[in-house]
């Protein structure tokens, strides 16, 4: 838990097939007694990806951020950074790591056998 913010429910798949979109949904809470600006930045293996919205003025309580990245052909670590605005700078107030493993795509066809006989 941070000084003014904390993560609530965060939904990230545990595994994904290479090439598919990996959705991220994060609920974060403003712990302060007044509205504050909150922003959520995200990266996987040090590559940034966009979360929506960029930032939000959040009343005391909860708000949601969402985004996605395209799964590469290897397992990755997703890191979410939670910031609040102190009037001059974005202050890092929380961090969450999540590992996404690579899932093998099921083959379209399998177990083909063929037998031949006079018709």
């Amino acid at each position: 838990m941070g000084r003014y913010t904390r993560f609530d429910q965060v939904l990230i798949p545990a595994s994904a097939v290479a090439g598919e979109n990996v959705p991220i949904a994060a609920d974060v809470v403003n712990l302060d007694s007044k509205p504050i600006y909150i922003s959520l930045a995200a990266e996987f293996d040090s590559s940034d990806f966009l979360m929506y919205p960029d930032y939000a003025l959040v009343a005391p309580g909860e708000t949601s951020f969402g985004g996605f990245f395209v799964m590469p052909s290897k397992a990755v670590r997703v890191t979410l950074y939670l910031y609040y605005w102190d009037g001059n700078d974005w202050i890092l107030d929380g961090q969450l790591n999540w590992d996404v493993s690579l899932q093998q795509a099921a083959p379209l066809f399998s177990e083909l056998t063929a037998s031949y006989a006079k018709a």
């Binding site: 379209l108 066809f109 177990e111 083909l112 063929a114 006079k118 018709a119």
Partner: protein
């Protein structure tokens, strides 16, 4: 007073086991034997496979020729490739027959068979091999006689 003696009948079980072995061996030989075909005869290729997609049009193809020993390369005999377009509607196990007529004048020989499933249109790679989604090769599938 006559004494009662028990005798064990060994003949029946031995005959039963022996018969079962002979039947099994016979079935094995029949199944292993290539189908004997003459030019002009019809052949049925029975495809069995699992499909995990959500539907689509695909091509079943059978080619007769010779598998090149210990390689994925199959030497297709010209005129002995047959195709059938299929429309799969859901993910499940399928059993589909491809009926084909052997053309006249096929050289008598024992042929291997290459069965494959591909997405249309069928194309060949730079080695002359057909592109496929799944493939199965049966050695000695067909014996063409004069």
């Amino acid at each position: 007073m006559a004494e009662k003696t028990a005798t064990k009948d060994w003949v029946t079980p031995v005959a039963l086991v022996g018969g079962a072995i002979m039947l099994g061996a016979g079935a094995y030989l029949v199944l292993k034997k290539p189908s004997v075909i003459r030019s002009g005869d019809k052949i049925k290729a029975n495809f069995k496979f699992k499909y995990a997609g959500s539907g689509g049009v695909y091509v079943l193809q059978v080619s007769f020729g010779n598998k090149i020993f210990d390689t994925p390369v199959f030497d297709h005999v010209e005129g002995l490739t047959f195709t059938k377009e299929i429309n799969l509607t859901e993910a499940k196990d399928y059993v589909i027959d491809l009926i084909m007529a052997l053309p006249m004048g096929v050289t008598p020989n024992v042929y291997d068979a290459e069965a494959l499933i591909a997405a249309p249109p069928l194309s060949r790679n730079i080695l002359g091999q057909f592109d496929y989604l799944v493939k199965s090769v049966t050695e000695g599938a067909l014996k063409v006689v004069a």
